[in-house]
Symmetry: C2
Amino acid sequence: MLATKLYAPTLREVPSDADVVSQQLMLRAGFMRKTANGLYSFLPLGWRSIKKIEAIVREEMDRASAQEIMMPILQPAEIWKESGRWNAYGAEMMRINDRHDNEFCLGPTHEEMITTLVKNEINSYRQLPVNLYQIQSKFRDERRPRYGLMRSREFIMKDAYSFDVDEAGLEESYKSMYDAYTRIFNRCGLTFRPVEADSGAIGGSGTHEFMAIAEAGEADIVYCTKCDYAANIEIGKPGIMKQEEEALQELSVVDTPNATSIEAVAEMLNLPLHKTIKAVVFSIDGKVVLAIVRGDHEVNEVAVQHAVLGSVEPEMATPEELEKVGLTAGFISPVGLQQTEEFTIVVDESVMETYNVCGGANKKDAHYVNINPKRDFNVEDIIVAPIRLITKDDVCPTCGGSLEHAKGIEVGQVFKLGTKYSEALQATFLDQNGRPNPMIMGCYGIGVSRTLAAAIEQYHDENGIIWPRSIAPFEAVIVPINAKDEALMSTSETIYSALQEAGVDVLLDDRKDRAGVKFKDADLIGYPLRITVSKNTLENNEVEIQIRKTGEALSCAIDSVATKVTELLQNL
Amino acid sequence: MLATKLYAPTLREVPSDADVVSQQLMLRAGFMRKTANGLYSFLPLGWRSIKKIEAIVREEMDRASAQEIMMPILQPAEIWKESGRWNAYGAEMMRINDRHDNEFCLGPTHEEMITTLVKNEINSYRQLPVNLYQIQSKFRDERRPRYGLMRSREFIMKDAYSFDVDEAGLEESYKSMYDAYTRIFNRCGLTFRPVEADSGAIGGSGTHEFMAIAEAGEADIVYCTKCDYAANIEIGKPGIMKQEEEALQELSVVDTPNATSIEAVAEMLNLPLHKTIKAVVFSIDGKVVLAIVRGDHEVNEVAVQHAVLGSVEPEMATPEELEKVGLTAGFISPVGLQQTEEFTIVVDESVMETYNVCGGANKKDAHYVNINPKRDFNVEDIIVAPIRLITKDDVCPTCGGSLEHAKGIEVGQVFKLGTKYSEALQATFLDQNGRPNPMIMGCYGIGVSRTLAAAIEQYHDENGIIWPRSIAPFEAVIVPINAKDEALMSTSETIYSALQEAGVDVLLDDRKDRAGVKFKDADLIGYPLRITVSKNTLENNEVEIQIRKTGEALSCAIDSVATKVTELLQNL
């Protein structure tokens, strides 16, 4: 393609409301424009990259025997009411009435729709397994759309749904998608980890999130530096941290006026944080839940929810709820407390391995010192569970290696749904014995537009984007230093033809702008290779090829540019 | 692909609510399923064909230097209010509020959006022309969705928008799209005509509709059997039909009790219809408009609207409106009537060439005989214009050849918009003299899903679909007569590999069903070629190739199947 024919308006200034690098660069480099809060238009460059990601997704989904279909964006409310999600979904689901006042939503996802689609068509185990997918715009009315494509209101998603006869079949479908996703994100050039994640409110028996590692990510993850272990921090299983055994001292109360945080208490009493315990009080399913971790640890809300078999996400308890069960905010420990119908105590495993620690005295302005949990808690009466967040001082639960923490952008998720939707919507098949069974489902999502943003978050420098070759809008750009110079243009065109013939996706920057402007744009847009055609090198029948990723520049004879470029691209 | 891996549930019965052949066949053959009124899911076979159409559209749009982008489906109300279409669009536009109560619509089209997108980016004549397109789901809340994909509420459309510096530029952009559309529909294998059409309410200076000729079409078109002339019947310009001159007889009144239609009067008075004139009364922009055509002609409402420079589509006048201007329904002619501020008379050109005709006497149960318009109408006071629909008795306005009438499915439209949107939304550029000018726009649509339906309307028989090769879900199917016979399966697989290597898009029907079932499905789904592998022919190292379109069957040596299939496909 010729740059003079390309609609790619670049911006000099960073837009003031762009809050992450990928958004800033996509706006500056002319990849997209903002239409309204959380709504973006893709311009030709951005759309080229999106189409390349889509093509990779299609190839790998097809290779995994999934079949592409297309369901409507408009979904009738009835099926969501049948599954119980019409109310459960809340304000994030965009709802619309048609001219006859029938209710619809704009699909945020398609579990109900796909289940309805197949339920009258698949009747026998002989027709299973089936895996159907689509690539489509999805809608979620985020309360606060932000981070550009990473949390927008209309976004491109690949969603797939598998149907199997039994759990073993689901395992196979799941594994097949897991492997396809691994290939997809590898081919997109992302640095990523599939991490164990929480199945949360959606139910189901297992899930992995595919996390692109990036500072701008919204998820906290932990991964092993030695083995494959990786988990969302919410689900990372910490081991038990032991402390050196000590002789048990006598429990006593000390005055700690106004020291309502464990940090303040530790400072006041000159104690290290790991010699303290701290309390966080939640409200879960109408119960007050007291969670206890070491002063140097943090509570994992999801683990607390699981420990008490909670059906909803924990919320912080209100002052009224604390009062109702007799707790004194800021000065709480389990010492002397009993569980009741409406009050549960959950203590982290590592707390049980502490000696002579300090914790709340359950009255205002006072703390206990020399708490010894095994001695001082009503151990018959409390739940002991791993409810702290895993830290970098923990070791890998799989291999004992050391752990790293990182931020991740969730670019994909694979999910064992089980029978939640097939039961709600009566999607059954007859098994080999002629008995009806609900189909066993899995669902598998990829954020296509978010993958684009994640790649930029990972690959950029102060001058612009550094595209992985596979999803770059063009693989190479040819820059004649002076487009008015006929010799330069003629050589550029020769190279352009040779590269096209070699199957390289190439742009010829035939604009009459100064070389500096073209170089700046090439760096900003981030073509993997730049081929500079200038008088100096032309004298030797050579051009310069610069690699965006490394900055490395090398000379190349004009008639071997195609070979050289092809070779270089293979390693980018 | 293997049929056992393909999700393609066929139906034995024609669904009762399917009102056109394309809809019936797409449901029966497992191309799509109905989700709700006017909403369809494409299954793998249907989606394969849609993607083939999309690929053709992309190739030809790119060849015409248009660039693909993607704008959001959700569009803010503000831009539609600026253009004045927020109210004008009516109930067909689906409207939705977000959680903060901001108003949006689901894009039925994107003129406002694209104009807003480019208006701050294109500032100079040097950046023009630009042509941007997208392929996207569009939404129109039809009062009565019907005809399957031909009038659905969510449909796939390719919409393109061109921006030029002047009318000459627009002409070029328009021509380029016109040619691209011609190539696209030719490549899709459609029988079609680009027809002149009415620019209607949308404004602009010219438009062609691309009409696929088919009985199920909703549009009436007329085309020349000798030259390229073709027009929507609404815009087809009839010539003046002369009648043989006669001596003018004396005007007189005859009783015609209860004869309120011109057919009844003609019968009562034993006159041929062309010796009568008839009246249709409209309400346009608050005026009563009396339209007069010959008794054997029909009024063209669009022509009437143009004749009186009406800004809205004509509606039939109410009895109250007739009364207000003193007209007696069923007995109206212009004889003795005068135009007023609120009453206009429009007479078709051919009426002025009649002699001694019969028409209403402007009183109940009475008609004039021997009306001679040039003598009896207040000729200074009436508008004479071509306001009748063109008939098959007319001749081609371009070459004088004979005309054919046909029904057409509108699969595409090209439109010269001019400055309607660039002026409303202030999309200006600086010309060579540094003066701001509104950009000159064109817009160009293709109904992608409708094109699929149109192809089936054109190509089918009592057994199923007969796909043009270019948009068939698979180009060929291999049917081993008995999938349990290892020799047949092994030969089938050999042929399958050979065809795949030759680049043929082929399905191997490896299902264990009876041959009859597979043949029926092959005919229903409509693969262009069927390769039958049976014991009989295998003895001679041959298979049978059947051409769906002609029914012709030919023998072919196994090792030359790939060559033969490739050759046959080239002519399909």
